[in-house]
């Protein structure tokens, strides 16, 4: 396994994500500088400067020209990837937890946190244009045409296989499939005993992986949220990912920072764990962080994965050839 360490963030990493082509890597942290990296070499290509606080999420459009970020400073920002220039700021009433372009990039979904009596909310905005220049020139007032509110804090949300559905997970352990047109909760899965930290689809949008502080990862049927698999870890989990290439899922997490001092400090054991997706058996683990693993992403070709830790480090792991030789 080849390891590339990416130094640049000064605080805990919150999210890592590849673009569709897999040549760019985006990261956000509890600092104010969302960053884009060369996914092959690990070279830092640039940062997006303008947020006033931690940044929770980042997304890029189909053609990798436009970038969206979700800020704890109560706004979503759109950026020109090439120039790093902020082309639009969409104000929110609460910190923004999630941001994602819709299929086709005409819409943007954002999630606002619960805060001071405000409920958690999912918004969908129509974008005036799909190019940074077009957005910059338009004088649109950003008003969401879709707002859905719920009292539990939403920790993770995703567009479904089509723009008709949104899936979201909450701190009460629930996962919901939401109909965008009727705002109806079509299916609710309640098997996690603690906060769900992230949900992620496989590349075909058939199954949904959820990871929770209850130390389990779970795989669901994307259609009706019927439970398929349980991956048992012995540490609270923060992020997980389904391999686009192998029958594998990776899970990352670790004990809360304040508890760490009391437990296996000597072990420095903050691992990304590999599970067989179908057998739900643990295959192995890679320890590459000094703090809990907060964020994980597979490269679109499945030949590498990236992890971001509470320690502020990002590591790209490129698999050796013998990794791909493994048969089920």
């Amino acid at each position: 396994m080849k390891l590339i360490a990416l130094h640049g963030h000064s605080r805990a990493i919150t999210r890592v994500k590849y673009n569709r082509d897999g040549d760019l890597l985006f990261s956000t942290a509890k600092d104010t500088s969302p960053t884009v990296w060369n996914a092959e070499t690990g070279e830092r290509l640039g940062t997006f400067e303008g947020h006033q606080g931690a940044v929770w999420d980042i997304d890029t459009n189909f053609t990798s020209t436009l970038v969206a970020t979700a800020g704890a400073d109560q706004c979503t920002k759109l950026w020109n990837l090439l120039t790093g220039e902020c082309v639009a700021t969409i104000p929110h009433k609460t910190p923004v937890r999630v941001v994602q372009f819709s299929h086709g990039d005409a819409m943007l979904m954002t999630v606002g946190d619960t805060s001071f009596g405000s409920k958690a909310s999912i918004h969908i905005f129509n974008l005036p244009d799909t190019t940074p220049e077009g957005i910059k020139q338009s004088k649109t007032e950003y008003n969401p045409w879709f707002v859905f509110e719920t009292s539990e804090k939403i920790t993770s949300a995703l567009w479904g296989p089509t723009n008709d559905f949104i899936y979201f997970a909450s701190d009460d352990g629930s996962i919901v499939k939401l109909d965008v047109h009727t705002k109806k909760e079509l299916f609710v899965a309640m098997l996690h005993r603690e906060e769900v930290r992230r949900i992620a689809f496989d590349k075909e949008y058939t199954t949904l992986l959820s990871v929770s502080l209850d130390k389990t990862g779970r795989l669901w049927d994307g259609k009706d949220l019927k439970p398929l698999k349980v991956y048992d870890s012995d540490k609270p989990l923060n992020d997980g990912c389904i391999s686009p290439l192998m029958n594998q899922v990776i899970l990352g997490g670790g004990q809360d920072a304040r508890d760490v001092a009391l437990t296996s400090v000597r072990g420095n054991k903050f691992e990304t764990r590999f599970f067989h997706k179908v057998y739900a058996e643990e295959l192995g683990a890679i320890a590459s962080h000094f703090g809990p693993v907060n964020a994980l992403a597979f490269a679109p070709d499945g030949r590498a994965f990236v992890s971001g830790g509470e320690d502020g480090l990002i590591k790209i792991h490129k698999f050796d050839e013998d990794y791909f030789a493994v048969k089920d």
Binding site: E204, K223, D259, L262, T263, V278, Y279, D328
Partner: protein, 614 residues
């Protein structure tokens, strides 16, 4: 309210003074004041209160209180139970429904009916497991599990029984493993047999401590009072006042190996009771019996003979002494005979350790070094041979000038191990060389061990040296016959170590009682190879189930050892068979899972195709 609810809403206050008609009113007012005390008012309102009288108007020692619902009654029971009325009377409060069950238990000892007791269930079914597995009890959160540990099948753990809220506090195995004792607010329950059926109930409200006699015939329970029970008939045989204190640690009643006697250290004396009548043995006043030994500090029974060892501290010019007392019984008559004694000087403290077969007694004596002004402490180990031709005699002294951390006899063996030294600990292992005679001789000293606990295998020879509780959790598995380290391991934060009764496995665990984190257990082989690691939140207890001594004679055991080679092949084949079956099973399960997965994915892809074709 249903009758059942009504009954459940009643409590019974027992152990009240018995007074005549004239004093009835006064007592009623007194009790009523307790029942209606404002702290008790909070639990619920009293519907009815009655202090019972017999035909002459004399109270019977009971009172009934009815509350308006069962939960109030239950709360009141807990709050009121154990309250002191006066010096002689402590309230014994039980739920009416429980009291109904138990009220027939006589307070005073009655001649037991001579019926042979036949347990309906085979309490020893676990001993005949065809795979020669061991059982253990593990308690975490509200769950209690009885688990089989399979020595050959990949350390596979198979749950034999699992129950929620099986016990309110802790659980204990009886010393031979026949029963699992569970603690409840109303008393102790014993469970046994293949499916752990209820084998007995011992009502003792608020019970906190228990102890069994060595052969499980008697059970001792404590809360405020000490009760001795017959396990088979569930009869209360006798009650004693008092309980554990810093000077008298639990168990307070110490049993002779054959359960013929038990003894209690009280008023600087040893009180010996016989178990036939549960009576204190009155020593023959004509004889200068030693039973009136003054100012005894502590005593211990030999685990195999009716010998008592005790010690008396220094008083004025009189030296401290350690002595052995032989207890003999001829028919009804019980005699005490001083077997040996040894005077000791400048004694600070003494601990007595019997070897498991009663061959040896080691008396650990903490003393001030001779002539030292700054009170340098030395520790002497005074070793007695009980099987010596001129028995029993003190033979040898091992003196250590550094701090002694731990001492332990090798079970069924000739050797003992000591951890000593304050910072970098040393472990020294000595041998008695022979049962009857021989020189005490040091076998080895292991330097710089950084350990503070010793755990001999119940089968001897192997010893685990452990650094626990504030130490690293380092474990060293040492072979004493060959004096080499078989393996080393680390279990971070480990608080407890437990050998299984066969000496094949060792468990280390982190108990919730000490740490609220990393709770879980490892099972190691006796050589320190990891077999199993289980994490359990709120893991509180892990106890291997004891086994009674083998029914096979010593000679037979020797023959088995000698002819072990002949069985080797058979066992190896069994193991291979098991391994193959296990591997096949895994393979089958995987194939099955993969097939299901493939058909699921296929179905979803077809859904998708239909959707796009539309």
């Amino acid at each position: 309210m249903s009758l059942e609810d009504a009954l459940n809403s009643c409590i019974v206050i027992d152990n009240l003074p018995v007074v005549t008609k004239e004093k009835y009113q006064k007592l009623q007012t007194l009790i009523s004041r307790i029942v209606n005390h404002k702290e008790l008012k909070e639990v619920g309102s009293v519907k009815r209160f009655e202090l019972c009288q017999d035909a002459e108007g004399t109270t019977t020692g009971f009172a009934f209180v009815e509350y308006d619902n069962p939960s109030a009654a239950a709360k009141a029971q807990v709050k009121m139970n154990g309250q002191k009325l006066d010096k002689q009377h402590t309230l014994l409060v039980s739920l009416f429904t429980d009291w109904e069950k138990f009220k027939d238990t006589p307070d005073e000892y009655e001649e037991p009916e001579q019926v042979d007791f036949h347990p309906v269930t085979n309490l020893h079914s676990y001993l005949t497991d065809p795979s020669a597995r061991e059982q253990y009890m593990v308690r975490y959160g509200d769950d209690t599990e009885i688990v089989w540990n399979d020595p050959i099948a990949f350390g596979k753990q198979q749950i034999a029984n699992k129950q929620k809220d099986w016990t309110d506090m802790i659980a204990r195995w009886s010393p031979l493993g026949s029963y699992l004792a569970t603690f409840h607010s109303q008393g102790i329950q014993l469970w046994g047999g293949e499916k752990f059926e209820l084998q007995g109930r011992f009502p003792h409200a608020g019970v906190q401590l228990i102890d069994f006699s060595p052969k499980e015939k008697f059970l001792v329970t404590w809360f405020q009072n000490i009760c001795v029970w017959d396990v088979a008939t569930q009869r209360r045989l006798r009650t004693f006042v008092g309980g554990p204190t810093p000077d008298h640690e639990w168990p307070i009643l110490k049993w002779s190996y054959d359960e013929k006697f038990f003894a209690r250290h009280q008023d600087d004396n040893i009180h010996v009771y016989e178990t036939e009548q549960m009576k204190l043995i009155q020593p023959d006043p004509r004889k200068q019996t030693t039973l009136f030994i003054q100012s005894v500090r502590d005593f211990e029974w030999s685990p195999t003979d009716n010998y008592l060892s005790y010690w008396v501290p220094e008083v004025g010019d009189k030296p401290a002494r350690v002595a052995l007392l032989k207890v003999t019984q001829k028919g009804e008559k019980v005699d005490f005979e001083q077997a040996t004694q040894k005077n000791l000087y400048r004694v600070q403290d003494i601990r007595m350790h019997w070897q498991s077969e009663g061959h040896f007694l080691c008396v650990k004596v903490d003393r001030c070094a001779k002539g030292s002004k700054e009170k340098r402490k030395v520790t002497n180990f005074e070793l007695f041979r009980l099987r010596s031709a001129t028995q029993p005699i003190a033979v040898d002294v091992v003196e250590l000038t550094d701090e002694v951390v731990a001492f332990a006899w090798e079970p069924k063996g000739l050797r003992f191990a000591i951890i000593h030294g304050a910072v970098k600990n040393q472990v020294s292992i000595y041998t008695m060389s022979g049962i009857r005679d021989g020189n005490v001789r040091k076998l080895v000293t292991l330097e710089n061990k950084n350990v503070n606990y010793l755990y001999w295998s119940p089968k001897g020879n192997h010893i685990v040296l452990a650094g626990l509780k504030g130490s690293q959790g380092n474990l060293e598995f040492y072979n004493v016959n060959e004096l080499y380290t078989m393996g080393q391991a680390e279990h971070f934060m480990c608080t407890d170590v437990e050998w299984d009764p066969s000496g094949r496995f060792v468990t280390s665990y982190v108990s919730f009682f000490r740490h609220q984190m990393e709770n879980g257990y490892y099972i190691w082989t006796f050589q320190g190879k990891q077999l199993v690691h289980v994490t359990r939140e709120k893991l509180m207890q892990f106890l291997w189930r004891p086994r009674p001594p083998s029914l096979l004679s010593a000679d037979r055991l020797k023959v088995i050892q000698r002819e072990l080679k002949d069985r080797r092949e058979k066992y190896q084949k069994e193991e291979e068979e098991l391994e193959r079956a296990e591997a096949e099973q895994i393979e089958r399960e995987r194939r099955e899972k993969m097939n299901q997965w493939a058909s699921f994915i296929k179905m979803r892809r077809e859904d998708f195709r239909e959707l796009t074709e539309k």
